[in-house]
Amino acid sequence: MSIDLKSIQSGYDGFKLKDVSLQIARDSLTVLIGPNGCGKSTLLKTISRELHPRGGRVLIDSKDVTQQRSKMVARQISLLPQHPVVPPGITVEQLVGYGRAPYQNLLGLRSREDRLRVEAALEIVDLSPLKDKLVSALSGGQRQRAFVAMCIAQDTPYVLFDEPTSFLDIRYQYEVLDLMATLHEQGKTVVAVLHDITQAARYATDLVVMKDAQVCAVGKPTDIITEDMLSAVYGIDARVYADPVTGTPAVSAL
């Protein structure tokens, strides 16, 4: 049980992943890190099917995603996009309800189970009291939680987070990261793209380091985060020390 990427080539004009192969183990919390433009978001967008690979295959639990009905894949993988779109005039509860789309017919009629799942998801992200508010009226942190609740309602074994902390202040960053950890504890496999190496090291069970459209290192945070790696991948002189709170590797640039 895993997500398997087999020599993936995908990208945009002028940028393409160079035959990336990677296995993301079930029950891991895998975080992709790397400098800007290294292809980590492209890789995540390929897994989430926003980008079609020009070569290679994406397998989920050994089944090719392109060989399955889109709805079936949507019951396997959910996504918190990098830039979630806030639709006008939609309440929090309605938004979270869209997470049930893979289980509904084209008319989107809700079953009892749909309603219970939505309620439970709102409970987990602590938005139940705000469920009748418009999403557009929420603060940045609350919005992000609403979109996470949509993923929870989607009830998938795999959840993808594409730079979930960007544009959030430090409190809400940790709020979203903690939610991510909660989902992982509840048995979901989480794959995230993060910029902050110290945060990545604190939350990840597995790290994937990318550079120049390739995977250059895979492993446990303590093995991966070294001063040599930071210098080779990011081109910075930095000191690595144990985070005083968690003991995981933390980074300070010189």
Binding site: K45, S48, R49, E50, R69, S70, K71, M72, V73, A74, R75, I77, S78, L79, P81, Q82, H83, P84, V85, P87, P88, G89, I90, T91, E93, Q94, Y98, G99, A101, P102, Q104, L106, L107, G108, K131, D132, Q154, L160, D162
Partner: protein, 335 residues
Amino acid sequence: MRHASSTRLIWTLLGLTFAAIAVFLWSLAAGAVRIPITTIINTLFDLDGPKQGFIINKSRLPRSLLAFCTGSSLALSGAIVQALLRNPLASPKIIGINSGAALGVLLTFIFAPTLDLNWLPVVAACGGILAAAAIFSVAEFAPVSPARLALVGIAIGMACDAAVDFILATSELYEVSAPLVWMTGSLWSRGWAHLNAVWPLLVGLSAITLLYSYRLDLIRLGTAQATSLGLNVRRERLALLALATLLAAISVSVVGVLGFVGLMAPHIARQMVGGTHRGLLPVAMLVGAILAMVADAAGRALFAPLEVSAGILTAMFGAPFFVFLLLSSFPSPIQ
């Protein structure tokens, strides 16, 4: 909330239905010849008492019904386009569908003036589809953001408008006077032939569009999110674009460029029942129908016996609304 919002939807729909009926009756009464409401009812239901068979049956009844159909279709089309482009300022007019249809119909007026009226919707639809196809082929072959797509649409619309202006400027006056009135969005001299040519199509397309309401909700979340929710975004977007194009182009073919109905109606509807398309679409249809009927009848009654085109009236009231939208939908310049 579920119950509260469905109750609200039902009451809104009921209220709008009554409003639509009232406006419909008023539109039969209004004009150069004012007809009392009892006379209208006598005529419609063939009761005893004073009747006005000729004016009502031959002129105002088909016109009002046509205004109803096209107003609601343009509103639907606008709601689709706004969801597809994720832009509250989008409308069929803004992405060039209307201008393409206008150009198609004008070319027909000039080069095939004897063409049967039944073909007019087909011609307009072709023009609109060509314009829309040009816009969306840009999107397919050079993927762009919805904002840029809207800009491409505006550019193509302008090109069509330029062609329309060129034809009008180089033609003899008598040749273009009829198209000119048509272009401003008038229902003047529209009759049963026009109505019969378009209503089955518009009703059918509207019904199909209503079945797409949930998919519109999902597509409104953006490509990444909609895909991860299991929607085949590419296919659904194409289908929805085709629906929006046909609804707008066919409407434009008989009533001309009825500006702003497609922009205003979805916004008013969103204010009334929120953003889920299951409620938004039917409410927008009724609002659009009411707007079109009011504009047509008011244009007939205001300066009777002169007529002001419904398109001119909707634009006159639509323009300030548009500015209001611009100001209120971008509360801060940094976004």
